[in-house]
């Protein structure tokens, strides 16, 4: 060897102190949030391009159906009824392809490197889930701005808006975990793209995002009942347009679904890293 060997040193088996679970989970979530904020700051163009679709839904679909009065929404103008659905949809579209990022990270060796840090798998996927939530929340803020420009009658109370952002984050965290779960099963970017595209529209149309549940045929109403997007939209309508709803139940369902999603994704992470 050309380099002079360094003097051998006695190395103790002392291991750096580890923070407890109660600190580890929020610490990892905050870490991945910070990284996501940096990513967004470095690529603001993506925010603009992602805003096009919700803008079209509100401008074309919303304005047209408001004038047609084809969908009965009681005393609430259709555009106001639609806006919370579009906010939820824009978060869904961001989160449902998050599994692609995990597969990319697997292919690039990033996942192996992350898994070799002292981060429990649950904390790692929770961090990723809420990073997706953060990106969706930024998207929701853009839809709030679009809604203001279109004079949508939202409740502009800051507490209600913050509550709506929290709901969007939890909803996106669930859908990103659904995506990571699918990634953990199919293990390929192409298959995940196909499945993602195949389930996004059914999730959207089999929810209350575009029309009230009572207008749906019975079988679609049943699907809507087990669709977490319906609970997200219901919570957003309660907060943003004051529709009488079941906010507590909605949040509980979303939180439970996200917890299950994180647990399942964490259990599949080893399969992805193999």
């Amino acid at each position: 060897m050309s380099a002079a060997p360094a003097e051998r040193r006695a190395v103790s088996a002392e291991v750096p102190a580890a923070p407890g679970w109660w600190r580890l989970l929020p610490s990892r979530v905050l870490t991945f949030w910070t990284v996501e904020i940096w990513r967004i700051r470095h690529d603001q163009q993506e925010l603009v391009t992602r805003a096009i679709q919700p803008a079209l839904w509100l401008l074309i679909f919303g304005e047209t159906f408001t004038r047609l009065r084809a969908i009965p929404t009681g005393s609430v103008p259709y555009l106001d009824f639609l806006a919370p659905g579009i906010i939820a949809q824009s978060g869904l579209f961001v989160a449902i392809f998050y599994g692609i990022q995990i597969i990319w990270e697997r292919d690039a060796g990033v996942l192996a490197k992350l898994l070799a840090t002292p981060t429990p798998r649950v904390a790692l996927v929770a961090g990723k889930a809420f990073a997706a939530g953060l990106r969706s929340a930024v998207q929701a803020v853009i839809v709030f701005i679009l809604s203001a420009l279109l004079r949508v009658g939202l409740i502009w109370n800051p507490l209600h808006l913050l509550g709506a952002i929290a709901v969007v984050m939890v909803g996106a965290a669930f859908f990103s975990m659904l995506s990571v779960t699918i990634a953990g099963v199919v293990l390929s970017r192409e298959r995940l793209m196909g499945i993602g595209q195949a389930i996004t529209m059914p999730l959207f149309f089999a929810s209350n995002a575009l029309y009230p549940v009572h207008l749906m045929p019975g079988w679609l109403q049943a699907l809507s009942t087990i669709n977490p997007l319906s609970y997200e939209v219901d919570a957003l309508r309660s907060l943003l347009i004051g529709t009488p709803g079941r906010l507590g139940l909605d949040v509980a369902v979303l939180a439970a679904a996200t917890t299950v999603g994180i647990a399942v994704s964490a259990s599949l992470l080893g399969r992805l890293a193999r």
Binding site: A13, V35, R39, G109, V110
Partner: protein
């Protein structure tokens, strides 16, 4: 004084479907040693590293890092290692500083020391002028040095490098070797690296283990292994003597795909 080995592997065996990836792998690495696992693609080098970094539980056998059982004390093992995988794995959408920050946080570097430790790792890899630039603007050699900075920010006792110079041009390769040598001279850190470049093994390693299709075929100091075959013998000759094949004759489609992916990311 008897030292706890930095690495201890005893009878490691692991099978992927019909491929015996590890077959009775046994070796020790002393604290402060630079040890190389040498072999062609598919020899079992990366599988050994995955076992030692807790990414893969070995089917059979025992492995420990500084006396910590890799199967039972996974979190403790992860706190004493720094790992650089084969692929170029830095996040191109972030700056160099942000990439190192991420790993400093994941290793729970105390907030009071955070910026000093990040600056120290970046300085050690001579990346200060580029630290605030997006990694997408880095050359392949700079990305590799950044990954070394990421792996060093927790001041690991064991640095694990999986094919550290694969896909790099000779200048970038030499740059990485210089950093590893400097690191070794400065810290006396234990280094485990895998390579299929003989020159790399000769330049960096005090001892090497030649792996082929699962088992270790021979192990020793490069000069001793060469001397056993004669004064003109190279490590390539040693490898051929013990395995009957050349280093670059092996490797499956998966290895080729992985190498190509790395090369593509290098641009």
């Amino acid at each position: 004084m008897s030292l706890t080995p930095a690495i201890q592997c005893v009878g490691l065996r692991h099978r992927f479907d019909d491929v015996q990836a590890l077959d009775g792998v046994t070796f020790d690495v002393a604290p402060g040693e630079v040890f190389g696992l040498l072999g062609p693609n598919g020899a079992g080098k990366t599988t050994t590293i995955r076992v030692l970094t807790t990414l893969l539980p070995a089917g059979e056998g025992y492995a420990a890092v500084f006396g910590l059982d890799v199967r039972r004390q996974q979190m403790a093992v992860r706190r004493v290692i720094g790992y650089v995988p084969q692929q170029l794995s830095a996040d191109a959408a972030l700056t160099g500083y942000e990439n190192v920050w991420l790993f400093a946080r994941l290793f729970d570097v105390p907030r009071a020391d955070l910026h000093r430790r990040i600056d120290e790792a970046i300085r050690l890899m001579d990346l200060e002028p580029a630290a605030r630039r997006l990694v997408s603007t880095y050359s392949g050699g700079m990305v590799r040095r950044l990954e070394l900075a990421q792996a060093l920010v927790n001041r690991p006792r064991l640095l694990v490098l999986d094919e550290p110079t694969i896909g790099l041009d000779p200048v970038a390769r030499s740059g990485v070797w210089d950093r590893v040598r400097a690191l070794r001279a400065e810290t006396g850190m234990t280094v485990l690296l895998t390579t299929h470049y003989m020159e790399e093994a000769e330049q960096l390693c005090e001892r090497v283990a030649l792996m082929h299709h699962g088992p270790i075929r021979t192990l020793g100091r490069p000069e001793e292994l060469r001397a056993e075959l004669g004064p003109e013998a190279t490590l390539e000759d040693v490898f051929r003597h013990h395995t009957g094949s050349m280093l670059d004759e092996e490797g499956g489609f998966r290895d080729v795909r992985s190498t190509r992916r790395t090369a593509r990311r290098l641009g």
